[in-house]
């Protein structure tokens, strides 16, 4: 397995020296503060295009790993990415950069909400923002569902519907639902792929 054989086309000016811890902290703080409604887009832009700390393929592989693991993806990404460049200290620097500034902002907002949350103007505005935020979430669901609908994949669509009903309508606890649905989905996917391959 020659996984390390260099690809034919290499980025010529790929950053040779790994960035310092402060640089990592600042870069992740910046992308976090720019990231309204999700940080991923900004993270990719900063890491791949601006700083050239990773190639596009390396970034995709790192992100796929973080997506496949539990927890907030972008937070996982900061830790994995930082540690690949500078060891565990780099991971902590990127993690802290990503979380510290927005957590402080959020805490200030929480204090403000505790004091002024009952003001009618604020309540009305937040109600409108909530409606829009739900609409954004529905749009993400639609975008993610499109490939499944195009493939007319009955297994995936029915699993999706079952999880939706169990959590959204019946309000069952998440761990129980996932402990039942995950092995089912993995097993079914495994057998389907074997059948297709055979």
């Amino acid at each position: 397995m020659s996984s390390d054989s260099a690809p034919a086309v290499q980025e010529p000016d790929f950053a040779p020296a790994p960035p310092g811890l402060l640089a990592l902290f600042l870069a992740f703080a910046k992308m976090s503060l720019a990231g309204f409604g999700g940080v991923l887009v900004f993270a990719r832009r900063a890491i791949v295009e601006q700083h050239r700390w990773m190639t596009a393929d390396e970034f995709n592989e790192t992100f796929a790993l973080c997506h496949f693991l539990p927890g907030p993806n972008i937070v996982n990404l900061s830790m994995v990415f930082g540690s690949r460049l500078r060891g565990i200290a780099g991971g902590v620097a990127a993690f802290a950069g990503l979380l510290l500034p927005p957590t402080l902002i959020m805490t200030v907002l929480a204090i403000a909400y505790a004091h002024f949350g009952d003001l009618d103007v604020l309540r009305r505005s937040l109600a409108g923002i909530s409606c829009a935020a739900v609409g954004l979430l529905i749009a993400v669901v639609i975008r993610m569902m499109t490939p499944l609908l195009k493939r007319k994949d009955p297994l995936a669509l029915s699993l999706m519907a079952v999880v939706f009903l169990a959590i959204g309508v019946l309000r069952l606890p998440l761990p129980a639902v996932l402990l039942a649905a995950t092995p089912l989905s993995i097993g079914a996917t495994f057998f389907l792929r074997r059948k297709v391959a055979a």
């Binding site: 907030p72 994995v80 957590t103 409606c131 829009a132 939706f164 998440l174």
Partner: protein, 176 residues
């Protein structure tokens, strides 16, 4: 029945939840709602949807809705405890797994598992949308606003911030 120390309740709740949060923060919203509103009565339904709106409107990862929940339970220490409990364990897990799988996947298992998880995480996010919609969209105008934003955001690449601000303006004007 209140637990002895609310900080520990936050840490154990969100630490455990993060390990099941496959598919990111949006997929964990129904579980956050169930625990914070229905099980522990940390917040009202309205406070929870407000917190979701504030988290969407603020910069940073959307998972930071847990900061707001933590603050509602136990002030600033609660905010910090909830944030770390939700973010740190899985980040460390990711660190160790990435060291284990140092080279990109040789086996087909990661790809297969990932494919198998996709429908589950979409189902979870759809459930989040339903639960949030049930508490925000109580009028026809509110329902329409949600529907219009959903359509606009699915067919265009407009920055979500503008749609959130537009929603805020409609709310400010007392339309929804």
């Amino acid at each position: 029945m209140k637990p002895e120390n609310p900080i520990w309740a936050l840490i154990s709740t969100f630490g455990l939840m993060s390990l099941f949060a496959v598919g990111g923060a949006a997929a964990a919203v129904p579980e956050m709602h169930r625990i914070a509103v229905e099980v522990h009565h940390w917040m009202t339904d309205k406070q929870f949807t407000d917190a979701y709106a504030i988290a969407q409107l603020s910069p940073g990862p959307n998972v930071l809705i847990v900061t707001l929940i933590g603050y509602a339970v136990a002030g600033i220490p609660g905010a910090l405890a909830a944030t770390l409990a939700m973010c740190l364990p899985t980040a460390l897990l990711a660190y160790y797994v990435s060291r284990l799988l140092n080279r990109p996947s040789q086996s087909r298992w990661p790809g297969l598992i990932q494919a198998a998880l996709v429908p589950l995480s979409i189902g979870l996010m759809a459930a989040s949308a339903l639960i949030l919609a049930q508490s925000t969209d109580r009028t026809i105008a509110a329902l329409l606003l949600t529907a219009v934003v959903a359509v606009v955001a699915s067919v265009s690449r407009i920055n979500p911030l503008w749609l959130l601000l537009a929603g805020g303006l409609f709310g400010f004007a007392g339309i929804v």
